[in-house]
């Protein structure tokens, strides 16, 4: 009898220890965001604020165009998703289903670019954007997502598994590549497109380095930029900073949890890309 319960009990004990360590910082964030400025430096430390105060939430919208920032992040995330998925699925179709000279070489070249880290190329990319007069524009922030080797690779692998019989039938009916792509390949790739959409959304929503380089006007900033700007100006107002952080985390959690239900297997792929 005892032995039967030993396994689950040990499991839950160990898993709870890890879960608590993961969640303490989030608990700290919520609790700090609900403190008044005075309570931030109270000793002994109040893990649960003695008095709930929304000062931080009020201030984050007062001292910064924070509502605008949320909208900017949403616009940039949605644009990134649409541009990345459209361009990548078109390229993937060509690599998977059209025969042309140099196809494998070109595909290998695209895979090779995955070895180039963003952190080593943000300066040259910025210089190009400057030449194109795209600094401080959303176009400049989202334009590089038109090329994403990982998305092309994933979609191409998937499209190769779609039977040629479908295409042959469509060709017999007089369909061209455009019709085949839009009516056949895109719907058949829906699960992988959905997964890639979640990854692209998270990438864009959380990105820091690239928007930091590109956007310098407060009105155009994304959430991570606004938070880092605030932390420079109000370094000790942790109630304000934690309120802002919480607001930035909630939308992405909702997107993830909503997505998780529909394609759990796909998010394993999401885990691989981060």
């Amino acid at each position: 009898m005892l032995k039967r319960y030993a396994g689950p009990v040990l499991f839950h004990a160990a898993a709870t220890v890890i879960a608590v360590m993961v969640l303490i910082p989030f608990f700290w964030m919520i609790s700090t965001s609900l403190k008044s400025k005075g309570a931030l430096t109270a000793v002994p430390i109040q893990w649960i604020p003695e008095e709930i105060s929304f000062e931080g939430y009020r201030k984050v919208f007062e001292v910064f165009p924070f509502a605008r920032t949320i909208l900017n992040s949403a616009i940039i995330a949605v644009l990134t998703v649409s541009i990345r998925l459209t361009a990548a699925s078109m390229a993937a179709y060509a690599f998977a289903k059209i025969r042309f000279r140099g196809r494998e070489t070109l595909f290998a070249l695209i895979l090779a670019t995955m070895m180039i880290p963003q952190q080593a190329t943000f300066i040259p990319l910025f210089l190009v954007m400057k030449e194109l007069d795209l600094v401080n524009t959303f176009t400049g922030v989202v334009a590089p997502s038109i090329f994403n080797a990982f998305a092309i690779f994933m979609l191409r692998q998937h499209m190769r598994t779609i039977s040629d019989a479908y295409i042959d039938a469509a060709v017999m009916d007089g369909a061209g590549h455009r019709t085949i792509f839009i009516r056949l390949m895109v719907p058949l790739s829906a699960p992988i497109l959905a997964t890639l959409a979640v990854i692209a959304f998270m990438d864009a929503w959380n990105d820091y380095l690239w928007p930091l380089v590109m956007l310098t006007e407060p009105k155009k900033m994304t959430l991570p930029l606004a938070l880092s700007k605030l932390s420079g100006q109000y370094a000790t107002d942790y109630n304000t900073l934690m309120a802002g952080s919480l607001i930035s985390i909630v939308p992405i959690l909702i997107v993830f949890l909503a997505a998780q239900k529909h394609f759990r297997a796909g998010l394993q792929v999401g885990g691989l890309k981060g």
Binding site: A15, P25, A87, Q119, I146, I252
Partner: protein, 301 residues
Amino acid sequence: MEHSRRQFGRFAAFWFLLPCLAGLILFSIIPVFYAFWISFTDWDGLKPIDPRAGVPGFVGLDNYAAILAGEEFWRVLRNTLFFIAMYLPLILAASISAAMLLNRPYRGVAVYRVLFYIPVLTSWVAGALIFKSILSPEYGGVNDILRIFGIPGPGWLYDAKWAMPGIVLASIWKDMGFFALIFLGGLQGIDTDCYEAAKIDGAGVWQRFWHITLPLLSPITFFVIVICLIFSFQLFPQVMIMTDGGPIGATQVMVERIYRYAFSYYKMGYASAFSFILFAIIFVFTYLQLKLQKKWVHYDA
């Protein structure tokens, strides 16, 4: 039929590839060559480029020589290696343990999997701000917990010795769920027959872990180590937000230096040269690991 389809619409490939190839050329290939050229100049990134007026001035390998001869580059490299020395063993231990738990067939596993993954979804800026607050020496939660055990907490981000461990702590918290999910994929691929056979032969829990799980997990472990090393050389948001490279340069790292030289000191040429050195380091790591992997990774089983 197959033949006619092969012939059909070959030129269409061009149109389908156009957006992505335009992106590849404009945002990947051109920038790399452009920056390679800039790295041999003294350009400040501000003056309009005009070769006839001698802007930017060509300085040959001066930027590279200045970086490699200077004390700063080696300090930054030491800081990064200090980070790796703490981060790598801890993240491997944490994510393998988490993955082994998530691989158990108990109820509630799905909930833990989501919980462990929440830090991965959080932006690094928010995560870094949380840790900056919780690591506050006097008013932070971590030192308050240490106080319960009678341990006087260090000054963390304000202490040159403890700032990097603070950043490591935040990074472990942020990345554990990510690598746990990768290890979980590996564990699920291990044939349960191996364990059954070992059990019959009388192998204990630890013996099974050391002699079955770890060796069979080695391709994934190898993959994770490579990714970790690459991540480590790309440290940036946590440093910018938590310490700004301080105190007294103890947490300065490469990407932070590159950003600083380009956008605070306006030394575009120098920053570009630094970028290429970073690129070379990451490339060498990837290549070396790919070569070494053959020696100790078990792909068969």
